[in-house]
Symmetry: C2
Subunit: 244 residues, 2 copies
C-alpha cells in the first residue's frame, strides 16, 4: 500500500481485517460456544485465557510508559482500573477468577500461570512487548480487536449458559461488563488511529498492528485446540484436566 487512505477508508480496512481473521472464526470458539466441549476443556480455556486477561493492565501500563501525551494517558488509565479494579470495584481480573473458581480450578494455580500452555504465554507477552516497542499509534491500534468483541461476548454468554450445566449466570459477569466497556474503548482507539495515522506508512503500521493482535488471539486458540481437542497433545507441565 503506498497511497494514503482517508480516515473512512482506514476504518473500512480495519473492519475488513476483523471480518477476515478475528478469533470468533476459530474452530475452538465454535466448539466452546456450541456446547461441544467437556468441562476439562472449558477449564483449560479459562485457565489459559487468564494469562491474557491478567496481562492486559501490564500492556496498558506499557502503552502509558512510552506516552508523552498527558491527555492520552488520562484517557487510557481507566483501562488499567477496569481490569485491576480500584477501591471497592473488583475489576475484570477478579471477575475472571470468579469464572475459574466456578469451574473448580484452584485460584492460586490459575494465578501462578504454571499450568498455562507455553504458546499462550509467548503470545501474551508478545502483545505486551509489541505495545512497549512499536509506535504509539501502532500500540493503540493493537487494541482494536475490541471493535469485534461485543458480538463474540454475546454469543459466548448465551451459548455457554445454554449449553453447559457447569456454567451459571454469575460466573459470566466478566463478559457482561465488557459489553459496555469494550465498545467505548474501541471507539476511542479507532478515532485516535484515524486522526493520528496520516501517512501511508503509519496507516500500514496500524493495519499490521491489528493483524498482529488477531494473531495473538488466534494463536492462543490454536494452542488450546492442539493440546485439548485434536489431537490432544498436552505439553509437559501444562494443565491436565481430571475429566477430559
Amino acid at each position: 500500500m503506498t497511497k494514503i487512505l482517508s480516515p473512512e477508508e482506514l476504518e473500512e480496512e480495519l473492519r475488513a481485517i476483523g471480518a477476515a481473521q478475528y478469533h470468533d472464526k476459530h474452530p475452538f470458539h465454535k466448539l466452546l460456544h456450541g456446547g461441544k466441549l467437556n468441562k476439562g476443556q472449558v477449564q483449560a480455556w479459562a485457565l489459559n485465557r487468564y494469562c491474557y486477561q491478567s496481562a492486559v493492565p501490564r500492556k496498558d501500563a506499557a502503552l502509558m510508559s512510552r506516552c508523552h501525551d498527558r491527555d492520552l494517558r488520562r484517557e487510557w488509565i481507566h483501562r488499567i482500573t477496569d481490569h485491576d479494579g480500584q477501591g471497592d470495584e473488583e475489576g475484570g481480573i477478579e471477575r475472571w477468577l470468579v469464572l475459574t473458581d466456578g469451574l473448580g480450578l484452584d485460584r492460586d494455580y490459575v494465578i501462578s500461570r504454571k499450568g498455562a500452555l507455553p504458546e499462550t504465554v509467548f503470545a501474551v507477552e508478545a502483545y505486551v512487548n509489541f505495545v512497549r516497542d512499536k509506535t504509539l499509534v501502532e500500540a493503540v491500534a493493537s487494541s482494536l480487536t475490541e471493535l469485534f468483541a461485543p458480538s463474540i461476548h454475546k454469543e459466548r454468554i448465551s451459548g455457554m449458559l445454554e449449553n453447559y450445566d457447569f456454567i451459571s449466570d454469575d460466573v459470566m459477569a466478566y463478559f457482561k461488563r465488557r459489553l459496555t466497556q469494550a465498545p467505548r474503548d474501541a471507539n476511542f482507539a479507532l478515532e485516535y488511529c484515524k486522526q493520528n495515522a496520516r501517512t501511508p506508512e503509519a496507516q500500514q503500521g496500524v493495519l499490521d498492528a491489528l493483524r498482529f493482535k488477531t494473531h495473538v488471539l488466534w494463536a492462543q486458540l490454536d494452542a488450546l485446540y492442539l493440546a485439548y481437542v485434536d489431537p490432544g497433545m498436552i505439553p509437559p507441565g501444562a494443565f491436565v484436566p481430571d475429566a477430559a
Copy 2:
C-alpha cells in the same frame, strides 16, 4: 557486601545514602533556596525540572508494565494520577505548569522540552529505562528519594517565597501537595523493599537503585550549574534566559 541485612539495617543504609548524596546538598539548590539566583536561572531550573516531573507517570507506568502482582499495581496506580490528574483533580504536572506560567515561560515551549538541557533528558530517560529494565524491587527502591523530599520541599517553599519577588504562594502549590503525597508513597516503598529484598544480592540492588536515583537528581543540577551558573556554558539549542 555479602551478609544479609535485617530490614532495620537495610533501612539504616538507605537513609545513610540519602544523608550522603541526596540533591539537597547540591550547590545549585543552596543558591536556589537562598535567593541567590536571578529569574532567568530559576526559569531554567523550572523548565528543566518539568522534564523530570512529566516523566514520572511514564516511570510509574513502566513499573506497572512489568508487575505481575495485581495488589501492587492497585497500590501503585495513584502515583500516576497524582501527577497526571484524574477527572477534576488537576494533578502535579499541571501544578508544575502553574509554576512555569508564573515564571513567565511559554507553556507550549515548556511542554515541548525543546529548551531542556540534553543532560536533563538523558538523566530522566535513564530513570524511566531503569524502572522498566531492572528487577521490580530495584524499580520500587529507585523511588526512595521521596524519603528525603519533604525537608527539601519545606526549605524550598519558605526559601523561594522569602527570597524572590517573582515567586508567589500559588505557584508553589506543587511542593505543598507533595509534602503529604511523598511521605505516604515513600513509606510504602520502604516497607516493600524491606520485605522483598531478602538476599544480599537483592539488598545490594536496592541500595544501588537508590544511589542510581540520587545520581539522576544530582546530574540534573550539575547540568543546570554548568549551563546557567558557572561557567555559564549553555549548550546550543538550550533555553537562553532573557534577563540572565
